[in-house]
């Protein structure tokens, strides 16, 4: 689909760091140096750099500029080949193996057989969407879901990625899951994954939403966004205060701005879970979300944290 150019460049060992940096500056997408390629030639003063360029780039010009910018005496020799998307996607998929999140709960890539057929197995084709079983925050959210779902709940997954949390919720007994994301690729992946787990359309609804977060440069667009939301949102997703469990496993930056919005979907007394954050980002999240949630609990795994709390009920 998106072809790229794979360029093998031979340069002086001494110039490696500076030249790699210069290549990135003048148009290369990435550079890599393989250890095994270069082990054999320890006495040589030359080294190979494998560089990737977007198809449209003029590789000759880029290498020339890079070499000149660091004052190389000779332009390094190089060889250009067409790169294929299928190669790296296939290899990346090979990094997925079945993972036991906790006793009796496995995440299994579509192309593997579940090691424990009796367990709760979530089948996934991770594709190009987020939601890898192995990430600490996904595990934290899965464990939270496991402890919360008793049967029949309505679950909102804000930032659904591969749909993994929603699928897990259904398997644990939830009645329905609504997944929301800003990435259209995700909507497609999540639908496919739901199908892999035999989850029918009655139990899952997926919605694409606009990226609501704004930085200073987007202030002009805020009015437009607000207008869009007020005309689309009510129709698109169920009304507020409907969900028994809401989880947002995204990133630090959007979370404070979205706090109002995310919590509004939860019923009073329902549990809201937040993750995708690092330990140093935790205080800011707790600060913001304690305006809406009580009985706040923090879970940790390595550097990652998840926060859960209960939405205030009206007195």
């Amino acid at each position: 689909e998106s072809p790229y150019l794979s360029v093998r460049i031979c340069c002086q060992k001494l110039a490696l760091d500076m030249f790699s940096e210069a290549l990135l500056c003048f148009g290369a997408s990435s550079t890599s140096v393989d250890e095994h390629d270069n082990d054999a030639d320890e006495n040589s003063d030359k080294i190979y750099i494998d560089s990737i360029f977007p198809e449209c780039k003029d590789v000759d010009e880029c290498i020339l500029n890079a070499a000149n910018s660091i004052g190389l005496k000779e332009i390094p020799r190089y060889e250009v080949k067409m790169g294929e998307q299928c190669n790296w996607i296939k290899k990346a998929q090979e990094s997925f193996h079945p993972v036991e999140v906790t006793k009796g709960l496995w995440i299994v890539p579509e192309w593997s057989t579940p090691p424990d057929v009796q367990a709760t197995n979530i089948i996934l084709n991770p594709g190009l969407a987020f939601g890898t079983c192995e990430h600490a925050t996904t595990k934290l959210c899965l464990l939270l879901l496991r402890s919360l779902i008793k049967g029949g709940e309505l679950f909102l997954d804000y930032g659904t990625g591969s749909g993994i949390l929603g699928i897990a919720a259904i398997k644990f007994g939830a009645a329905m899951f609504v997944g929301v994301d800003i990435d259209p690729q995700v909507i497609k992946s999540a639908h496919q994954n739901a199908a892999l787990n035999n989850i029918g359309p009655k139990k899952i609804k997926l919605h694409l939403v606009p990226d609501r977060t704004f930085t200073a440069s987007m202030n002009e667009r805020v009015d437009g966004v607000v207008e869009y939301l007020s005309s689309h949102e009510i129709r698109g997703i169920s009304e507020t205060e409907e969900y028994d469990v809401v989880i947002a496993n995204i990133l630090l930056n959007p979370l404070p701005q979205l706090a109002d919005h995310i919590v509004s979907y939860a019923k009073p007394g329902a549990v809201v879970g937040i993750s995708g954050i690092l330990s140093e980002q935790l205080p800011r999240i707790i600060n913001r979300y304690s305006e809406f949630l009580e009985d706040i609990l923090v879970s940790e795994m390595d550097d990652w944290r998840s926060v859960s709390g209960t939405k205030f009920s009206p007195i």
Binding site: S2, Y4, S20, E21, A22, L24, C25, F26, S29, S30, T31, S32, V33, D34, E35, H36, I52, P54, L64, N65, N68, S69, I70, G71, G83, Q85, N87, W88, I89, K91, A92, E94, S95, F96, P126, L128, F130, G131, T132, E134, H135, T137, T215, L251, L252, N253, G276, I277, L278, Q281, W304
Partner: protein, 155 residues
């Protein structure tokens, strides 16, 4: 200096990968996909980790990432602010450096630019204990090789 324990338990390295990724914007697609995928690294894990750790930067700032891919398909990475050459190009308002350094001046930057860039770079790992003056000198040197002239003030 690495401790003896570190040396003995050091994992064998498969490759060292460098790329530029926008802060908070890593996706399992080019440039990340092809660069990391070919070493069977977990793309999603990298993207999630990288995005979370670059939340403190202005979104879309091109970050310099260096990834050490180990033979067992695990990896480590360090993130630095954009390269000095990138900042110089931005400050000078040019797309590429001069093709004949020392001969044709591609553009100019001021001492203030140099100072501002040095301040950003000082917060990179490994630069924290370098005196600002040394960093400035190094940046001025890089500017020279790029054919960028450094002036006191712009007219």
């Amino acid at each position: 200096m690495a401790t003896l324990k570190e040396i003995l338990t050091r994992r064998p390295v498969a490759a060292t990968i460098r790329l530029t990724v926008p802060a908070g914007g890593a996706r399992p697609a080019p440039p990340v996909g092809p660069a990391l995928g070919q070493y069977r690294l977990n793309l999603m894990a990298f993207c999630k980790d990288f995005n979370a750790r670059t939340q403190k930067y202005k979104p879309e700032t091109p970050m310099s990432v260096t990834i050490t891919a180990f033979k067992d398909n695990t990896f480590e990475f360090t993130v630095k602010s954009p390269s000095v050459t990138w900042y110089l190009k931005k400050a000078a308002g040019i797309e590429s450096g001069s093709s004949r350094p020392g001969h044709v001046t591609a553009s100019t930057v001021t001492l203030k630019h140099i100072y501002e860039i040095a301040k950003v770079k000082q917060s990179d790992p490994y630069c924290q204990y370098m005196p600002l003056e040394s960093i400035c000198k190094s940046i001025i040197g890089t500017a020279a090789t790029m054919g960028i002239k450094v002036v006191k003030e712009l007219d």
